[in-house]
C-alpha cells in the first residue's frame, strides 16, 4: 500500500503543478480546432487506459501481498478463463475504444473543416524558419501571421535536413522532409501569439529553433499583409543611411535580403529576410526579444546565445554598430 500512496501523491502533485496554462508551448488547453480534437482524444485515452491500468496494478499488488490464500486447486476462475478475460478481452475492449476514437479524430484533424483561403510556405533551415506568402510575394522568418478563426494551409519543405513544425496550442506536428512538400493546416480560434518549436532533432542548435504564430483579426491581418508587401523603408536618418553601407560592407547582405536595398539577383537564402525585421517580435528564431540591446549582442556574438548557430560573429566599431542598429531598427 506504500506504493499506492506514493503514486497518488505523485499523480496529484504533478497534475496540480502542471500549470499548462502558463506554458506557452503546452498542448493544453488547446486554442485551435486541430489541437482541440487531439485534446479530446487525449482525455479518452487517459480514462480508457488509466482506469484499467490502475485497477490491474492494484490487483497485482493485492495478489502478491495478501496473506490469506485460497486453496489453489479450488479457484472459481480457471487459468484459461483468467488469462482470456484479463489478458485478451480487457485489452481488446480498451483497444476497440482507443482505435475507433483515434481513427475518427485522425480523420477529423488531418484536414480543416473548410477550404483554407490562404496558403503559406514554411521552409525549415538549420536553425530557423523561412516563411513565404506565395500569393503576396512576402518573405519573412520565424513568425507566421495568420487571420484568427480561419484555417490556413501550410506547405512545409526543408532547405537542408529534417525538421518538424509544431505549434502545440494549435495542432500536432509535421516534419519538413528534404525533397518532399508536406501539406498541413493550422487554425487559431482567437487572436493571440502561439509559440512553435522544431520537434525533430536537426543539429547542434535544434533546441532553440523556435518561432511564433501570430493570429490577428482579419482586418489587422490584411493590414499586416499590405505593410509587408512593400519593399523596405528608405533609411530615415543619416546614421541609418551609414548603417545601410555597414550592412553591405560587413557582409550581412551575403546572407540576408532587404527587399529594395540588397541586390535582388544575389539569391541569398542562408539567413532570414530582413525587409521588415524591426516589426518582428524576436531574434534568432524566438531566442531573444527584438530590442536594440539584444540585436547588438546578437550581431556581435550570436554564439553567446546559440552556440553553433550558422551566423558568424561580426566585430564592428562602436560607431558602425550603432549605425547598423539604426538602419535595422528602421526596417519596419
Amino acid at each position: 500500500m506504500r506504493v499506492a500512496a506514493f503514486w497518488t501523491w505523485v499523480l496529484l502533485g504533478c497534475f496540480m503543478g502542471m500549470g499548462c496554462a502558463q506554458a506557452p508551448l503546452s498542448m493544453l488547453p488547446p486554442q485551435g480546432p486541430g489541437a482541440a480534437g487531439i485534446a479530446d482524444l487525449w482525455w479518452v485515452l487517459f480514462w480508457a487506459t488509466g482506469i484499467p491500468a490502475v485497477a490491474v496494478i492494484l490487483f497485482t499488488l493485492f495478489l502478491f501481498l495478501r496473506r490469506r490464500r485460497p486453496d489453489p486447486d479450488r479457484l472459481v476462475v480457471g487459468d484459461d478463463a483468467f488469462i482470456i478475460g484479463g489478458g485478451i478481452l480487457l485489452p481488446a475492449a480498451v483497444i476497440a475504444i482507443l482505435l475507433t476514437t483515434s481513427v475518427r479524430t485522425g480523420g477529423e484533424v488531418a484536414h480543416p473543416s473548410r477550404e483554407p483561403a490562404l496558403t503559406i510556405d514554411v521552409i525549415g533551415h538549420q536553425f530557423w524558419w523561412e516563411v513565404r506568402y506565395p500569393a503576396h510575394q512576402i518573405t519573412t522568418a520565424n513568425e507566421i501571421h495568420v487571420p484568427a478563426g480561419e484555417p490556413v494551409r501550410l506547405r512545409l519543405a526543408s532547405a537542408d535536413v529534417i525538421h518538424s513544425f509544431w505549434v502545440p496550442r494549435l495542432h500536432g506536428k509535421i516534419d519538413t522532409v528534404p525533397g518532399k512538400v508536406n501539406t498541413f493546416w493550422i487554425e487559431a480560434d482567437r487572436p493571440g501569439a502561439y509559440r512553435g518549436q522544431c520537434a525533430e532533432f536537426c543539429g547542434v542548435q535544434h533546441a532553440l529553433m523556435g518561432f511564433w504564430v501570430v493570429a490577428s483579426p482579419r482586418a489587422s491581418f490584411e493590414a499586416w499583409l499590405a505593410d509587408h508587401r512593400r519593399p523596405a523603408a528608405e533609411p530615415a536618418t543619416e546614421a541609418a543611411r551609414r548603417g545601410r553601407a555597414v550592412f553591405e560592407d560587413a557582409g550581412c547582405s551575403v546572407c540576408h535580403v532587404v527587399q529594395g536595398h540588397t541586390d535582388p539577383t544575389a539569391g541569398q537564402t542562408a539567413g532570414p529576410d530582413f525587409t521588415h525585421l524591426a516589426r518582428r517580435r524576436t531574434l534568432g528564431a524566438a531566442r531573444l526579444p527584438n530590442d536594440r540591446e539584444a540585436l547588438a549582442g546578437w550581431i556581435q556574438d550570436p554564439h553567446a546565445f546559440k552556440p553553433g548557430v550558422r551566423m558568424p560573429a561580426t566585430a564592428l566599431a562602436p560607431g558602425d554598430l550603432h549605425d547598423l542598429l539604426d538602419y535595422l531598427e528602421g526596417l519596419r
Binding site: V3, F15, L61, G87, L98, V103, P178, L208
Partner: protein, 852 residues
C-alpha cells in the same frame, strides 16, 4: 572423495565416476594464463564477460544521463555545450540499446541457456568468443570517440541527411555507422549460436513443450535478431557508402530519399525494443513461479504470446514516422497493429497473475521486489505505449518528453528492472556468493522511487511542449519545476543503481557462500554447483516435466534426477549431447572445439578493417583479408586422436554408442549454415527492397539519358553461376543423409572433381560481372541509381569471393582422409552456401536487369 571432485554435496546431479570427473575437468579446462584468458571459449566465460562488460557500459551510459540531467536541471544552464550534449544523448541511447541491454541479455542467455537445457557448452563456442570480442572492440571505440570529443552526435536513430557527408563531415557519424555495424554482427552471431544450441542440444526429454520459458523467450528473441538486424546492417552500410564512397542513397539532390533510412532503421528499431523486452519477460516467467512456489500457469499461452509479440513487432515500425507526412490510412493500420501488441502483453501479465494467485505469499527477496516493480512500471509504460500508437495523439506528443517518459517506463521498468531481478537471482549461481538482502532492498526502493521521480514528470513536460534532444530550454516556458524534479530524481535513481555494484563488490569480497540452489528453483541451472564446473554437468540430466527439479504440479524437489551418461573412460572428448529438435531424443555426441586464440585474431582484424575505413578505404580489404586468413586458422581441423570413434560400440550404455560428428541434414553445422544464409538472404531482401523503394519514390529510374542496361553478358554470367552449383550438388550426394551413417568412399574423389569445376565457373561469372560493371556508362557516385546498382553488384561480388575462399578450403579437405564425418558436414555447408549464392545471383540479375 567424490564430493571433493564434483563439488558441494547439494548439487542435484549425481556425481560421476571420480576418474571421469577428473578427466572432464582436464578436458574442459581453460589454461589459467593470460593467453588462456584470451583464448577462452566456454559459454560461461563468454556469457560472464558479456554481462560484466555491458554493466560497465551501463555505468558509463548512466553517467552520461546524469550529466544531461545536470545540464537540464535549470533553464539556460551552460554547464555542457550543445555539441557535447548532443554527443551525450546519442551515446546514452546507443550505449543503453547496443552496449548494455541487448548484450547483457545475450550474455545472460549465453550463460544460463546451456545450463537450463542441460548442455555442456554452446554449439559454436569459438563463434561465441568472436562475438564477444567484436562487441568489446566496438563499444570501446565508441567511448574512445567520446573521450576524444568526436562521438556520434545525431541521436541513436541517426537520421540522414543530417548524418550524411554534407551536414556531418567529421568522424563522429563514421564511428556510429562502423561500430554499430560491428555490434550488429555480434548480436547476429549470438543469435545463431543460441538458436542452434536451443534446437539441438537440449537434455533428453526436454521436448519443446517442456522448455523453460526463459529459453523460449531467448529462442524467439534470437529469431527476431536474425530478421531485424540485417535491415540495420543494410541501413548503416548504405550510409557508410554515402559517407565513404560518395554514393547518394539518402541525398535527395541526386535521386536519393531520406525516408528510406527511417523505414530501414525502424524496421530494425521497433523489433529491437522487443528484442530487449522478450528476454525480460522470460526472466519474469522464470522468477515468479520460484517466488510463489507454484509452476507457471498458462505455459502454452505464454509461449504463444511470446511468439505473437515477436511476429507482431515487425509490423509496427511506421509508428515512429507518424509525423513524416505519410498517408493517413496506411498509418491507421500501423496504429491498429501497434495497439494489438497489448493483447499478447496482457496475456503475459495475466498468466503471471494467475500463477501468483495460485501460489503462496512470496518472500520478498530483492529479485521479487524488482519483479513487482517491473509489473507496475510495465503497465504504466504500456498504457502510454498504446497512447502513442494513436496517430493523431502522436502528432502532439511525438518527439517530446512524453515519449521520453514512455520508453523509459518500458525500457527501465520493463527491461532494466527484470535485468536487476535477474542479477539478484542468478548472482549466487554465477559467483558462488550471496548478495546482501539489506543492500538489495535499499537498491530497489531508491531505484523505484528515483525512477518515478525522474520520469513521471517527463509525461507532464511533454504536454508542456518540451521537445526531446534539447540541450537547454528557455526560462518562462513553464518547464523549470518539472525539469528540476526530474534531475533530483535522477540523482536518487543513480544512487539506487550504484548500490547494485556496491552489493556485488561486497558479496564478492566477503559474501556468504551460495548453495547450489538457494531459491528452490525448478530449472536445471540450479541442479549443478554454484558456480558450475566448466563442463556444467558431469552427467547429462534427463528431463521428465516442465520443472525439471520439481515434482509434478508443485514446487517440492524431485527425488532424484535421472541422467544420461555419454562419457566412456578411455574415450573422452570435449563433447555434449545432440538431440532432436521436437522431442529432444538423443541422436549424437557433439564434439565441441576448445580454447582458441583465433576468434580474437579475427575480431581484431575485422575491427581493424572497420576502423581503417575512417583512415583509408584500402585498409578495409587488408583487414578483411587478414580476417580471412585467421578464419582458416580457426577452422583448421586438428589431427584426430588415436581412439577411433567406432570402438565405442562395445560400451555398456546407450549414450556412448551415439555417433560423433554425425553428418546429416539437421545437425548443428547444417543449422548454423542455414541461419547464416537466412541472415544473408534478409540482407539481400533489404537491399532489393531499397532498390524498389527508391525506384518508386524517385520518378526517373534509371535517370534520364541512361539506357536500360544490356542483358546478354549478365544473363550468360548468371547462367554460369547457376550451372556451377550442379557439380557441388553431385559431390554432396555422396554424403550420407542418415545421421550417423559413415561417409561413402567416393566423397573425396567427388570433391576433387566437382569443386574445381564449380570454382572455374564461378571465376568465369566473376570476370563477366566485373566486365559488365566496368562497362556501365555511369559510376556509383553519379546518382542514386548508380549507387544502388553498383551496391547490388558489389554485394554479389562479395558473396562470390567468399564462396571462392570457402570452396578452396573444402577442396583442400578432398585430399584429407583423416577427417571422418566432419568432411561431410563441410560439403553440406558448402552446398547450402553455393546454392544460396546462385539464387542471389538470379535475384540480383532480375532486379537490376529484368525488373520493369
Amino acid at each position: 572423495m567424490i564430493d571433493a571432485v564434483a563439488g558441494p554435496k547439494d548439487a542435484r546431479i549425481p556425481a560421476a565416476d571420480p576418474e571421469v570427473t577428473a578427466a572432464l575437468e582436464r578436458i574442459w579446462a581453460t589454461p589459467r594464463t593470460a593467453w588462456g584468458w584470451l583464448s577462452a571459449v566456454n559459454h560461461k566465460a563468454v556469457g560472464l564477460r558479456y554481462m560484466v562488460t555491458s554493466l560497465v557500459f551501463f555505468l558509463l551510459a548512466g553517467v552520461e544521463a546524469l550529466l544531461m540531467r545536470l545540464q537540464l536541471a535549470r533553464p539556460e544552464l551552460e554547464i555542457i555545450d550543445p555539441d557535447l550534449y548532443n554527443q551525450l544523448f546519442t551515446m546514452h541511447g546507443s550505449t543503453m540499446m547496443f552496449l548494455f541491454a541487448v548484450p547483457f541479455l545475450e550474455g545472460l542467455a549465453i550463460y544460463v541457456t546451456p545450463l537450463m537445457i542441460g548442455a555442456r557448452d554452446m554449439a559454436f563456442p569459438r563463434l561465441n568468443a568472436f562475438g564477444y570480442w567484436i562487441f568489446l572492440i566496438a563499444g570501446m571505440m565508441l567511448h574512445v570517440a567520446l573521450l576524444a570529443g568526436v562521438a556520434p552526435h545525431s541521436g541513436w536513430f541517426n537520421y540522414p541527411p543530417l548524418t550524411g557527408p554534407g551536414f556531418s563531415p567529421g568522424v563522429n557519424i563514421d564511428f556510429w555507422v562502423l561500430m554499430i555495424t560491428l555490434l550488429e554482427v555480434a548480436a547476429l552471431v549470438a543469435a545463431v549460436e543460441l538458436i542452434v544450441t536451443i534446437l539441438k542440444q537440449r537434455a533428453p526429454g526436454m521436448s519443446l513443450d517442456r522448455m523453460p520459458l526463459f529459453v523460449w523467450a531467448v529462442l524467439a528473441t534470437a529469431w527476431m535478431v536474425i530478421f531485424a538486424m540485417p535491415p540495420l546492417v543494410v541501413a548503416s552500410l548504405l550510409l557508410a557508402l554515402d559517407r565513404f564512397a560518395g554514393m547518394h542513397f539518402f541525398n535527395v539532390m541526386a535521386g536519393g530519399d531520406t525516408l528510406l533510412w527511417q523505414h530501414l532503421f525502424w524496421f530494425f528499431g521497433h523489433p529491437d525494443v522487443y528484442i530487449m523486452l522478450l528476454p525480460a519477460l522470460g526472466i519474469v516467467s522464470t522468477l515468479i513461479p520460484v517466488a510463489v512456489r507454484r509452476p507457471i500457469a498458462g505455459y502454452t499461452w505464454l509461449t504463444l504470446s511470446l511468439v505473437a509479440i515477436a511476429i507482431l513487432s515487425f509490423g509496427l515500425w511506421v509508428h515512429h514516422m507518424y509525423a513524416a507526412g505519410l498517408p493517413l490510412l496506411g498509418m491507421n493500420f500501423f496504429a491498429a497493429a501497434s495497439m494489438m501488441i497489448t493483447i499478447p502483453s496482457g496475456v503475459q501479465i495475466f498468466a503471471w497473475l494467475s500463477t501468483v494467485r495460485r501460489g503462496v505469499r512470496p518472500i520478498f527477496h530483492t529479485h521479487v521486489l524488482f519483479v513487482v516493480g517491473f509489473l507496475v512500471l510495465l503497465i504504466l509504460g504500456g498504457i502510454t505505449g498504446i497512447m502513442v500508437a494513436s496517430v493523431a495523439f502522436d502528432w502532439q506528443v511525438h518527439d517530446t518528453f512524453f515519449v521520453v517518459a514512455h520508453f523509459h517506463y518500458v525500457l527501465i521498468g520493463g527491461v532494466v528492472f527484470p535485468i536487476f531481478a535477474a542479477i539478484h537471482f542468478w548472482f549466487p549461481k554465477l559467483t558462488g556468493k550471496m548478495l546482501s538482502e539489506a543492500i538489495g532492498r535499499w537498491c530497489f526502493w531508491l531505484t523505484f522511487i528515483g525512477f518515478n521521480l525522474t520520469f513521471f514528470p517527463m509525461h507532464v513536460l511533454g504536454f508542456q511542449g518540451m521537445p526531446r534532444r534539447v540541450y537547454t530550454y528557455l526560462s518562462g516556458l513553464g518547464l523549470d519545476a518539472g525539469n528540476l524534479l526530474a534531475s533530483v530524481g535522477a540523482a536518487i535513481l543513480g544512487a539506487g543503481m550504484a548500490l547494485l555494484f556496491v552489493n556485488a563488490g561486497w558479496a564478492l569480497w566477503r559474501g556468504r557462500a551460495a548453495p547450489a540452489d538457494p531459491w528452490g528453483a525448478g530449472t536445471l541451472d540450479w541442479a549443478t554447483t554454484s558456480p558450475p564446473p566448466a563442463f556444467n554437468f558431469a552427467h547429462i540430466p534427463v528431463v521428465a516435466g516442465r520443472e525439471a527439479l520439481w515434482r509434478d504440479g508443485g514446487a517440492e524437489p524431485a527425488a532424484g534426477i535421472r541422467t544420461y551418461p555419454i562419457d566412456t573412460p578411455g574415450d573422452l572428448a570435449r563433447e555434449t549431447l545432440g538431440t532432436t529438435i521436437l522431442d529432444a531424443a538423443p541422436e549424437q555426441r557433439l564434439v565441441l572445439p576448445g580454447p582458441s586464440i583465433w576468434p580474437l585474431w579475427v575480431a581484431l582484424s575485422v575491427g581493424f578493417a572497420f576502423l581503417g575505413a575512417m583512415v583509408h578505404l584500402m585498409l578495409v580489404p587488408i583487414g578483411l583479408f587478414v580476417a580471412g586468413v585467421a578464419l582458416v586458422g580457426w577452422h583448421w581441423p586438428p589431427r584426430p586422436k588415436e581412439a577411433p570413434t567406432g570402438g565405442a560400440g562395445q560400451a555398456a550404455f546407450e549414450g556412448a554408442r551415439l555417433p560423433r560428428h554425425a553428418t546429416g541434414r539437421h545437425g548443428t553445422v547444417w543449422w548454423g549454415m542455414v541461419l547464416l544464409v537466412v541472415i544473408e538472404a534478409t540482407v539481400v531482401v533489404s537491399l532489393v527492397t531499397s532498390y524498389f523503394y527508391l525506384r518508386v519514390q524517385v520518378g526517373d529510374w534509371p535517370p534520364l539519358g541512361i539506357a536500360r542496361p544490356d542483358l546478354w553478358l549478365p544473363a550468360i554470367a548468371t547462367a554460369l553461376i547457376v550451372a556451377s552449383a550442379a557439380p557441388i550438388g553431385w559431390a554432396r550426394r555422396s554424403v550420407p543423409k542418415v545421421l550417423g551413417e559413415s561417409e561413402g568412399p567416393s566423397t573425396g574423389m567427388r570433391l576433387r572433381k566437382a569443386v574445381p569445376a564449380g570454382l572455374l565457373l564461378v571465376i568465369a561469372y566473376l570476370v563477366l560481372t566485373l566486365i559488365d560493371a566496368a562497362d556501365r556508362p555511369y559510376r556509383w557516385s553519379d546518382h542514386a541509381y548508380g549507387s544502388m546498382v553498383f551496391t547490388l553488384t558489389g554485394y554479389q561480388i562479395l558473396h562470390v569471393v567468399a564462396l571462392l575462399g570457402f570452396g578452396a578450403v573444402v577442396l583442400c579437405m578432398g585430399w584429407r582422409h583423416d577427417m571422418g564425418r566432419r568432411r561431410g558436414n563441410a560439403v553440406e555447408a558448402l552446398w547450402i552456401y553455393w546454392a544460396f549464392v546462385a539464387v542471389t545471383s538470379v535475384v540480383t540479375f532480375a532486379t537490376v536487369y529484368l525488373a520493369p
